[in-house]
Symmetry: C2
């Protein structure tokens, strides 16, 4: 059911998601939704955001293990986001971003925690790869903002140019910041 | 009514907007909504996106007239977005971005056209300020992606750091691209 909710949120956002569609897409019995998610739609979206963030963290660590420089990690992360967007036919964005416009405390906290974990994980891996602390935190914020924004404008333009541009700018910045390995 | 629709879309997105709330916030007679927008919610959102983009273009031209370099224009544009976000208490995003997840041809076209006009206007002004064509288009894509993403993560984190980071990375890139005045 989390998988179905995540697909719907990534395709059309949180507001467009109905619990009936979650049940239908997951082919789960309706009763089990209320059993696992007694607080309903907000609860399933908050848990979905946590799982989405957790997968991002694992992917960032995997990319960092294979990377030879900060620029290499950044390039790999942006390319992976671009490839996912192109593969979805420009139809699927982030599972956390649609929650930032919600005023409920549960969803605000889910989006704050999700983005905080992702930004801190990138910053940490950039430090491991040789950047200074301040440069790593600046770049981590810019990487996530750049990718989030490219997911918006790339969907609108139906082309990968925003990801290419974001990668070019971020990689150039990472290469100017070689504060020792 | 466009003003009311724009506020609601920026605060909570397209899906959360009801025509009843548009009528209520604008204090316009209900009949006039259907008179001016016979195609209803999609039409009002598409026209709102066009007006929002038009105001962005005017603001970019105003900033460019006062700017002495590409970095100066970029810095002014990012700061303006940051100030607007802070002033709204992290409660108001872009009026075009929420339309990219919609599958209707009218809304897809409105978001495509809105972002295209904004990116091309920034690219043009960066060329006027001295950048080469390819560098200007790359930076324009990165400026809009960076600001759009900072609007997402800044709302989630309830802090201006994403805008500061995006500005730092973009300005550094603009300063390395001095392809003649």
């Amino acid at each position: 059911m989390i998988g179905a909710a995540r697909e719907i949120i990534r395709e059309r956002g949180y507001h467009a998601m109905s619990l009936a569609e979650v049940v239908e897409r997951s082919a789960a019995p309706r009763g089990s939704l209320y059993y696992h998610f007694p607080q309903g739609k907000q609860q399933i979206a908050a848990e979905t955001a946590g799982i989405h963030a957790g997968e991002q963290l694992a992917e960032i660590r995997r990319l960092a293990d294979a990377a030879t420089s900060p620029a290499d990690l950044i390039s790999g992360y942006v390319n992976r986001a671009r490839d996912g967007m192109v593969a979805s036919g420009y139809g699927r964005g982030c599972a956390i971003a649609p929650l930032v416009a919600e005023t409920s405390a549960e969803l605000s906290e889910a989006s704050r925690l999700g983005f905080t974990r992702i930004i801190e994980t990138i910053a940490f891996q950039l430090i491991v790869l040789g950047l200074g602390n301040a440069a790593a935190l600046e770049l981590a914020h810019a990487v996530i903002a750049g990718v989030q924004g490219a997911e918006v404008t790339s969907r609108a333009l139906r082309g990968p140019e925003p990801f290419e541009a974001v990668r070019g700018v971020l990689v150039a910045r990472a290469q100017v910041h070689p504060e020792g390995p």
